[in-house]
Amino acid sequence: MMDSMIIGKYVPGTSLVHRLDPRTKLITIFLFVCIVFLANNVQTYALLGLFTIGVVSLTRVPFSFLMKGLKPIIWIVLFTFLLHILMTHEGPIIFQIGFFKVYEGGLVQGIFISLRFVYLILITTLLTLTTTPIEITDGMEQLLNPLKKLKLPVHELALMMSISLRFIPTLMEETDKIMKAQMARGVDFTSGPVKERVKAIVPLLVPLFVSAFKRAEELAVAMEARGYQGGEGRTKYRKLVWTGKDTSVIVSLIVLAALLFFLRA
């Protein structure tokens, strides 16, 4: 059950998108998520579609990886689509089967909202496909640095993010191990009535949590022993470099936003 999950799902590569500064990618996603809501007619959705396809082809990530990212949300998209078709009663009726009527407004809105979901998921999936988790947390720490003035523990948050990312696979392995150990003792995790399966959670989670907390304590001791003392005066092994490419990406996003603004109904 755990093997099919790839954390971060990073696909190594040397494409333009891979080489961008993680900050640029984070800003891009942030802006994209905002401007996606500007679209409200055919032209604007087509423009956003072109942009998304453009970025996807620039990353040279195999299509199958993207599909993996889309798969879990396909049915959410379909559900929203159906809901809109059934619930929105605007414009002329396109076709009718018995008491089941499809209105033009519902169809159009259903398509638009589904497209918006697909664009959002594609662009955000690309971040994890082209950026390592460490790069992401580094970029985030840098971007949020100004918030340090507001007493927000930016460095600490970034550190906690990296540590939990690092330990997810370890804890997964641990879960697998405990599962096997308990199965050897006769616990059945996969079949039986709901009541039994709920009961089976206890001998799985109690050891998992206990060992995880022990790990946390060991980590803290190890870090203290090595003289960790927070973000103040800390130097970095990986330095982020902002180049002309990054600036042009941000500029093109602003152009896209402006175009959307003029084209929208």
Binding site: I121, T128, S164, L165, V198, V206, E217
Partner: protein, 186 residues
Amino acid sequence: MLKLIDMMHIAIFTALMAVLGFMPPLFLSFTPVPITLQTLGVMLAGSILRPKSAFLSQLVFLLLVAFGAPLLPGGRGGFGVFFGPSAGFLIAYPLASWLISLAANRLRKVTVLRLFFTHIVFGIIFIYLLGIPVQAFIMHIDLSQAAFMSLAYVPGDLIKAAVSAFLAIKITQALSLSDTMFTKGG
């Protein structure tokens, strides 16, 4: 400022949240919010960690999700989920576990039954109060329709509230040798 040991507890708990999310969820055919073990983590964070740590563990988790880690059930992640149907439910996580932790610390004697009710109030009702309106708004549907869809989760959530109350006590007992995290107040 945060102590190192608290930071590590938070980080590890965040990782546990993710692991819980990878355990197979229960999918229902008629509503877009899947039933998962992940909300078990929200309740457990509240009843195991201190209020501040509980809040932060959920916040770090949401930050990881926002920055694209596919940690939500079904491998969802990315900034987009905060604009999806579950947005309100997600944003309620840190607040819910903070409230659970505060309430659990107020309990004079911690029993499974009392924790269970705490979980119902803050881990279910409170999360729904935030989640349902946001879901209705994002999907452009009526509040009553969204509320109706959430009804399907109530049985699953009640089971989770009970299981996590039981688990929290078991885990706290197993860890009771440790003095740093299960304290009153803070």
